[in-house]
Amino acid sequence: MFIIAMLYRSSRVRPQPEPGWPWRPSLGLLLVLLLPVQTPAGADQASDNCQRCHGMATLGYRDPLTRKIIDLHIDAAAFAASDHGEMACVDCHDRDYRSYPHSLTLADEHLDCVGCHRDDPEPRGSEFKRIDEEFLRSVHAQPAPADDRASKLPLDCHDCHNPHSFRAARPGDDIAAIVSNNNAVCLSCHLDIADPLSEPHAWLPNRDRHWQAVRCIDCHAPATDHRSHDVLAAEDGNRDCVNCHSRDATLLNQLYSYRSQTDLAEQGFVAKAVYNEAYIVGMSRSPTIDAIGLGVIALMLLGIAAHAYGRYRVYRKGGDDHA
């Protein structure tokens, strides 16, 4: 039943994680059904058999270690619409799940995005290897602090990317929905951030507008020419406005090009030219050019005023309007 893959279409197409993936893969494997038939038609049949139980919204169990309820329901509609929707359950979950209840020894399948996708045709194979390297550097891959017993660290791919509903964002998708879905993943763990009175983002001007327009990771990962999985510690997040709004163009390029690409696919060439969400407030702001422009114009206006005054004097003196 587990179909593990994290899609990352390209550096310009950002993944669209699904919110609310509440269970770790190792815990989720206990009750997964499997029929051993491997042909395509048989695989469909096997998936149907899996869904006979896992299609039930109430299917779950209590984890004996954590005492938490583990949700084992797989939403058939969400799965069909996901990037893995064409796959059969057994394509990933190929252990012997014929017996019921499934054996606890089946639980740890060690499935992860990179494990499946590292051998994808290039350039995707290399992208997943890069993602793996980035993720291992990220704060999410580090062990939990010894004094933080509630921490879920270290995370793995599926803590953010639900393989049963994950659908990578595509050009043409609504940008607001992409941003909202992305940020919902972060906020599903970082509950305190959603608090309107939360401190960490109090410095951010137009905080809510930012949250509607940009993803958390746009500031909380290094600015690169692709969407990095190297999630930074909170104190290392980008706090420099000009990184997005003007000068240092890496992040600007990333945001702008993606939005431009999305608008183009969504609206077509002509409509894109008129209606687009790509322009970022202040992206053309350059204090130097603005100062030069305004300065030259001010001098010109002064010059014009002096010139016009001189002409007026001549006109008054001469009594005609030649000057």
Binding site: A249, S257, V274, Y279, M283, S284, R285, G293, V314
Partner: protein, 215 residues
């Protein structure tokens, strides 16, 4: 009264269309550039208006080029190398000194030459130099997805933005200067009247004898 028909209908329609687009683009551009400022349009309104006006300006620019190529209006933009510097110096001197001494205009329009050398150089610089850069950088903004990530080691979007910004400032400067310079005709309003009616009128004593010529 010396009277010449110098501005044909299409030139005047193009001119005033271009002028309107300039004003719209400057106002909406400022509203985007200094978003949230007093007396400016809301950002979300300014963006589509600016884009639509930018497309119209592109069409207007192409119309100007094609119109000149297929009509004889291009004759007004010929720049003879012989005497070029003398004409520029003479015209500049008049603007800076002669106009205050009530000296006559050094240049008098004729059926084949309606603009002084400074006007020609300025308009050619604007229409063949600045405008293409402005239009191309504007379109590059919208379709930056087709640009490389970097140009000359700089982020391409930022580079495009800075070029667009710098050229836009130059054209604002041009517009201000242009608005003032048109008052230096035979009378302060004679040039703007010419662009409205098509007829250039001149009462300068040194001008050719009164005649009516339609070009």
């Amino acid at each position: 009264m010396h009277k010449l028909y110098l501005y044909s209908v299409w030139v005047r329609v193009w001119h005033w269309t271009n002028a309107l687009l300039f004003l719209i683009l400057i106002f909406t551009g400022l509203s985007m550039h200094f978003a949230g400022g007093a007396l400016l349009l809301p950002f979300q309104t300014a963006v589509p208006v600016h884009n639509a006006a930018g497309i119209a300006l592109t069409i207007s620019w192409i119309a100007f080029i094609v119109g000149n190529l297929v009509s004889d209006n291009k004759r007004f933009y010929r720049i003879p190398l012989h005497g070029l510097i003398g004409a520029v110096v003479s015209q500049a001197r008049w603007y800076m000194i002669g106009i205050f001494r009530r000296e006559p205009h050094p240049f008098h329009p004729s059926a084949d030459d309606k603009m002084n050398m400074l006007q020609k150089l300025t308009y050619l610089g604007v229409m063949l130099g600045l405008m293409p850069v402005l239009v191309i950088s504007g379109w590059a903004f919208l379709f930056s997805v087709y640009l490389p990530e970097t140009l000359f080691g700089l982020g391409s979007v930022w580079l495009v933005a800075m070029i667009h910004l710098a050229v836009a400032w130059m054209l604002v400067l041009f517009l201000i200067t242009h608005l003032y310079m048109i008052t230096t005709g035979d009378t302060p309003t004679s040039n703007i009247r010419s662009m409205l009616t098509g007829w250039h009128r001149e009462t300068d004593a040194s001008a050719p004898t009164a005649s009516e010529t339609q070009s």
